[in-house]
Symmetry: C2
Subunit: 392 residues, 2 copies
């Protein structure tokens, strides 16, 4: 995995979470980076979300560092703003940079006070152990109920030199609105302006994290950041900028897909393809309704080709289509044709649904060109077990 | 339980469901009844839904009989319309009435052909065993994953005589959009016009079944019917009509609450009270978002006073409010005040949440007068177990 140049990483256990695995991470760009963020639209926003957004505004889309903690969301807390500011100030001071160049992010329980000194007193050690090799340590430090670290990287040869893009994310618990928090940081050494970084991030999020049903109904802390520090020295041409955007998109899509694979208690990743809708927006609406249906998710968990639930979920999505023109495919087998049962071998489809990757195709015949791809995961007893006592 | 006069009931096992408990029911009014229905808004509508709606139109809001089956939704089936018509015709013929006076309803698996003869050949026996005493037999025949029969009744003394209202319903599986089907039949012997029956049903549904998150995103078969056959002979005054409407509402609310109590795998009923929203609609929106959040439902399952999830679900509901003005109460204990953690005894609230009835109060301070009450239930491993292999 080729990492972008000019970034250093560090992580340690600061005592924020109960188990003694690292819960505090720092990413530093050696030079000023163009930066952009996409944040939760929830009315209840955590202090670090508000501060990161304010810093990006005041710095006109630039940043030098990201400080992230797991174990506490620093949301709905009395000292929330002060704690976020104290953390950021400690990092800025230790690095000798402006506080507005530090972007904070937190994930964990809501409504429990986060002791700022847990972070501030560990900042010197965090800065002292910064290294270009410790990328994965930060990816691990922000895990909550994730079972695996989630990272992705791409690189590209430009005329002026080689650039790299690397990203890390933490899981959104079960992939469903209102569930756990998603954090996602993508770093590149490409030469890009703040406006370019903003556009590339927004476009990339649209077909990745916004197709994971984490957004729209977001958690209090959701944060995706893109930094481009130009350390490659390779200024892109216009067409090369598109290539860089594609690489960022590829990293974001890989990360989103990894989250779906690691949904809380999930045994299977589900990919939903919708085609023939009246618009891409309607396709997304249908796909999201299927992805969010507990009945569909439990059917997939049980390898049950119960396509009626898929049709019903789509029919209640608010999108407009003729159910008699719908074909539904499961794992490549057509189980519903023109809104009616298609002949298929139940044991065969059941066996195919035992795979860890399940594909649902929802195709509306006709002239509609609306398409969408959407990720989710199955819904198992384990999910209940994890979430019935998250705090205790 | 006082049943309304002039109705007879019958049920038997017709072989539609696999287990040999009654799956076919018939309700007959001895005289023509004013009738109205509220149906699913899903694009994918089952054949009996379409036929019942058409019959109510063609009969100008009158009916003589309801024929209901469990075990098969007769939805997304090739012969769906023909099967629904054949069932209705068989009943009409056996009773010597017009087919448009028979209202069909089905619940069960979607997309599996329903053999019409299973119903038609049992109609003579069904009619032969009609009795004014067999109300509960029909309530049992339409159960699917319900663990208990759900009925409710009210009566009232009018100046001109006594009237009774009795209703039966079947559970909506887990209480969540897109889940299983709800059927609900309410019968009265009050003297009411078709227009009055329609208004009373619509108003009553609004604060009962529409506060159960079953509607809005409804299943393919959801049907609620109200019949008033006037057999009491007691014509109501205007104020007595309001009293009758209140009795119907009480029956509907009792039935809705019984469904919440018997959600698939549910151990606890959850009642959500929202106050201080900008409007009643916004209050419903907040309440529905809380009710539909798997994170909230699993927290209640685990008796975990994790109010941050409640605040987050509300914040993503689309309603507008200031999170800093929110108080949240669990079982009468304030756990969040002004959007922040309130001091409370965790063991005490945990113990209170062990009760089979859990109350969530979400109060927004300020001038907003919007209120809503909403029912749901907790989310347990058992739900997954039930739904992972419903068909098999």
């Amino acid at each position: 995995m080729t990492l972008p140049q000019g970034y250093r990483y560090s992580a340690l256990y600061a005592g924020i979470r109960k188990t003694s695995s690292p819960d505090l991470g720092l990413i530093v760009s050696d030079s000023q980076a163009s930066a952009a963020g996409v944040f939760t639209r929830n009315l209840a926003q955590a202090a670090p979300v508000k501060l990161a957004r304010a810093h990006l505004e005041r710095s006109h889309g630039t940043a030098r560092a990201i400080v992230v903690n797991a174990g506490n969301a620093n949301c709905a807390t009395r000292a929330g703003d002060a704690t976020a500011r104290a953390s950021v100030n400690a990092v800025a001071q230790a690095l000798g940079i402006s506080a507005t160049r530090v972007l904070p992010a937190s994930t964990g329980v809501i409504g429990v006070e986060l002791d700022a000194t847990l972070i501030t007193r560990h900042v010197p050690a965090l800065v002292a152990s910064l290294s270009p090799e410790r990328f994965e340590d930060v990816a691990r430090a922000m895990m909550t109920t994730d079972t695996v670290m989630k990272i992705a990287a791409e690189d590209a040869q430009l005329r002026a030199g080689r650039i790299a893009v690397a990203g890390m994310t933490k899981g959104a618990g079960m992939i469903h609105p209102n569930m756990a928090t998603t954090l996602c940081f993508v770093l590149t050494d490409a030469v890009l302006s703040p406006a370019e970084v903003r556009d590339i991030l927004r476009d990339g999020i649209e077909t990745s994290f916004h197709r994971l049903s984490v957004d729209g109904d977001t958690s209090t802390n959701d944060t995706a950041l893109l930094l481009a520090n130009g350390a490659s020295g390779a200024a892109p041409t216009r067409s090369e900028r598109r290539m860089i955007a594609d690489k960022v998109r590829a990293v974001l899509e890989s990360l989103a897909a990894q989250i779906a694979r690691d949904g809380e208690g999930a045994r299977k990743r589900i990919v939903i393809h919708v085609s023939g809708a009246r618009s891409n927006n309607e396709a997304v609406r249908i796909a999201r309704a299927i992805a969010n249906s507990p009945l569909v998710k439990t059917a997939i968990a049980g390898s049950d080709p119960n396509w009626g639930r898929i049709l019903s979920a789509a029919g209640a999505s608010g999108a407009t289509f003729d159910p008699r023109k719908v074909n539904i495919g499961l794992q490549g087998v057509t189980v519903c044709r023109s809104g009616l049962a298609a002949p298929f071998s139940e044991p065969d489809v059941k066996r195919r649904l035992d795979e860890p990757e399940c594909e649902i195709r929802f195709a509306i015949r006709g002239k509609g060109g609306g398409q969408a791809r959407f990720w989710t995961c199955d819904f198992t007893e384990k999910y209940i077990e994890i979430n019935a006592s998250y705090r205790t």
